[in-house]
Symmetry: C2
Subunit: 131 residues, 2 copies
């Protein structure tokens, strides 16, 4: 089959503007920000409500795609590991997954808490969380 | 930015060959199968071991990309919902996410349990699960 082409559905707005300042995991973050979804996808947000946890997929546009082994969390004492056994942003398809708390939603703008993404990171999908 | 192009990293082998027979969620499945990863990505699997739960992203090559509202689980009594508030395969970027148990791993072949994917579904990413 042909290689699939992603359609970006939105973009992150946050005050996280450099990698050093970016939380490594959503589970360790209390940072807030806004998911701005493109207006043509607003109907797809119907049913998302404050208080819910949503699963958000991002496209890490700055991540390398040709590295197969990394030091997890940059810790060289732990040795190299395959990227598929880690949460490293570096991977053949640099898609990141965060579980975020919905603080409020207004049209195509979702205010969220738990962000671990740089400002301006593209968004590719939102899903209901399965408990 | 340009629309990202995905690189398929592998393919599912299972005895699930039609949609009617496909479990709706990994959390409701005890089906087994094999993730065949392309040989050039075998190094990226280093660190994955039997007994672990891995997060696997699939590309749902048969899913519609231009439907924004669905009846969750096909249940019309619940009304239409935006696809981003569901786990429907139908969405602008039909990426599915399953948490699968690793039964065994042999080179580029990962035997897994909990499959909710059709045979021959392309794989786009594998991640460590965050508890």
């Amino acid at each position: 089959m042909n290689q699939p082409v992603l359609q970006l559905i939105g973009i992150v707005h946050s005050d996280i503007v450099n990698l050093v300042d970016t939380p490594k995991f959503y589970s360790e973050s209390d940072r807030v920000g806004t998911l701005e979804i493109l207006p043509e996808f607003t109907d797809a947000l119907d049913g998302i409500a404050p208080g819910q946890t949503i699963v958000v997929l991002f496209w890490l546009h700055k991540a390398s795609r040709d590295v197969l082994k990394v030091y997890p969390r940059g810790d060289r004492s732990r040795g190299l590991r395959g990227v598929f056994s880690t949460r490293s942003p570096v991977r053949p398809n640099p898609i990141a997954l965060s579980e975020l708390e919905v603080c409020s939603i207004d049209g195509n703008l979702i205010a969220v808490k738990g962000l671990d993404m740089l400002d301006q990171t593209p968004i590719v999908d939102i899903k209901k969380k399965i408990d």
